[in-house]
Amino acid sequence: MGKKKPFINKREARHFQVVHRSQRDPLYHSEEASPYVLKPVLPSPNLKKLFDKDPSAIPNPYEVDKDLLDVMEPRDLHDDDEYYDSDEYYYDDDDEEEHGGEYDDADEGEDEAASKPNASSAAGAGAGAGAPSPAAPATDEGKPTRGTHFTFEGGEEEVVDESKAGRAALFGIFYDDREYDYLQHLKPTGAPGAVFVPAKPPMGKKQSAGPVVFRDDDLPAEALPSRYEVEPATHNQVEDYGLGLDLPEELREVLYALDDEAYVEDDDRYFTNLDKDEIDEDLAVVVAEAEAKAAKERELPEVLDWTMAARLKELHTGDSDDDDEDDKSSAGGAGGRSEDGDELASLPSIRKSRGKKDDNMSSFSMSSSVLSRTSHLELLDDRFDQIEREYADEELGAVDVEAPPALNDEQRQFMNSLLDDFLSKHSVTSHNTLYENLRVQGGGVGQYDIVRKMLKTDEDGTPINFNLDKYQYVEDTSVPLDEEDESDDEMLRPSIIEDKYEEERWDCESVLSTYSNLENHPKIISERGRKSKAKQSLAAQAAAAAAAAGPATQILLNQRTGLPKLAHQGVAVEKSDDEEVSDEEEELVEAVNLGVARSKNEDKEEKRLRKQALKEAKREKRAVKKQLKTAFKDEKVKQERAAVQRKSQAKGMLL
């Protein structure tokens, strides 16, 4: 069985890939259009197997034999970018079409992909066509073809060597280019300013399997990507009209009307008018008024800033509110009722704000003024307006400090009497201790004084009675109204409690030491207390020396005993005193045991006995020491063992 006719001739077929629709596609958002489109693609390189060739003759793309050049699919070689760049060496008149197609890129984006399969399929077709008819020369003009571009190298060199003269012919420029280089004006595809100049199709060269024209007219247009692309959708959906001076007048009016509140119709009248067949007469009036307003607006300077627009709108709404209300109150009621007996119940006229208030027409700003007003945003707007109205109140400002209200005489007297009554009460305060309630002269000092007096005791310990005469210490500040002076100024002046304890003020020293100077009478500090004992001893020595040396002896008394100090005796006494004192207080002098005194005339026996006694004493000392040591050691060991036992017990419990 031979090879079956393939289902599809892949060389001549059109290849697509199913991809998602581009976001720049205007149909991206439409729900009817399919989310996927057919994107034309190049056929796979694996298709070289499908050529009508001996499959075993598939060449290694890395080793090019010149014999196989006309057999190979040129596309293999064109996979290298290197070759693509130097396009000029590859094209002849035949292929100028796709060559021209290569150069076209900038203007028609959708044809870019279209032209590629065009090129490659043309190349495939060309090579495929060239191969079956090897007899027919690839070109008539002797220009190099794709298949023989390697041989062209030699030719190319010749061309280059000569003067690059004929190169322009490759590109379809048939002028004499010996003097002028026309190739300098050629630009690669996609460069800014590049213009596509299609080549003239060669005559009589078209074969049945010639360059394939990409036909997509038989496919539904929806299945293919759109021809024109649109910027992908952004937040700023608002059309940027700018000032829109060139828009038709009616259109501009409509645009203004969208924002202007003057054009807002109240619901009640609108729907009643809808019901009626005849148009309300007053409606025409309203329309006329609106037109007049628009005319007025046109006279005003063009609104350049949204803030200006807001202010203008305020002005207008101020006027229009009155006008409309007047109109509607008079005309709406009368007109509505006069025309028809039955009418809809009129809703309370709410001033509705239209959708886009201060709309910033620029597409650059992302502020909330640009976003379309949702219901939440509108609510915020209304709230803001409310607060703004509150702040428009001119009376708002810093609260002035007002002068206290002036009282006339009667009121003043009344006030004073009230104050006096209050002050004279003793038990108004919350702390109800006996002592605090005393409004004592001298303040806290006086209170303290009284307390001490009360706590005074005799030597035996019995408390001395201290009768507290409260009123002795309290100054009566309340002046009865009967005895008031003529001058009112004294009354007004707050009375100051005077301090009666000015004579015996405490000085700083006493306060620090917390000894009151009533009992603490500091004296001149004596020398004795400040000097240290050592210094004292030195001073005593010096005095003794002076006493011993000098004729004018000054008899110094020992301060403790009161006895006079003699030179040597004083020293000794002083020393012993010192020693005692020093032993007790200052220095730790080791007591040297001189032992029992040894008599001069000592027999051997006595010496022996003495020595023995000493030895015994030492032995005993040693024994005692040892006892102590062992006792300590035993105790230590015992303690350690107990500690270890305790630890192990604890561990045991855990386990």
């Binding site: 059109r14 290849h15 697509f16 890939q17 399919s34 996927y36 693609v41 539904p220 929806e222 299945a223």
Partner: protein, 123 residues
């Protein structure tokens, strides 16, 4: 008696099909995971059969296994452990003979991620 030329159009029950150009469409599905691929292929075939198109059911081409076995170590030290990386590519073909409108519907099928769909339409 006027003679009406006997043509296929006069026969009763003849469905107008001459005007509609039929395309021969080959859909190539390729993917790395077979499950999604089978799902898409089955979906396509089912839709085509619903519309009474001539469908040649999903032809399963042999899957290509690409495997790379490399040493784990960047240097040569250590016990000689080897990493085995594999990738399987599954491919299915579906041939249809259908008018152009159906082509549009091909594009409306839900395509799983990871499945590449290529369509070849004969001239």
């Amino acid at each position: 008696m006027s003679q009406v030329a006997k043509s296929a159009a006069n026969k009763p029950g003849y469905e107008e099909s001459a005007d509609v150009k039929v395309h021969r469409i080959r859909i190539t599905l390729s993917s790395r995971n077979a499950k999604a691929l089978e799902k898409v292929a089955g979906d396509l075939v089912k839709r085509a059969k619903d519309k009474d198109l001539k469908v040649k059911g999903p032809v399963r081409l042999p899957t290509k296994h690409l495997s790379i076995t490399t040493r784990k170590a960047p240097n040569g030290e250590g016990s000689k452990t080897w990493d085995r990386f594999e990738m399987s590519i599954h491919k299915r073909l579906i041939d249809l003979i259908s008018p152009s409108e159906i082509v549009k519907q091909i594009t409306s099928i839900s395509i799983e991620p990871g499945v590449e769909v290529e369509v070849t339409i004969a001239n």
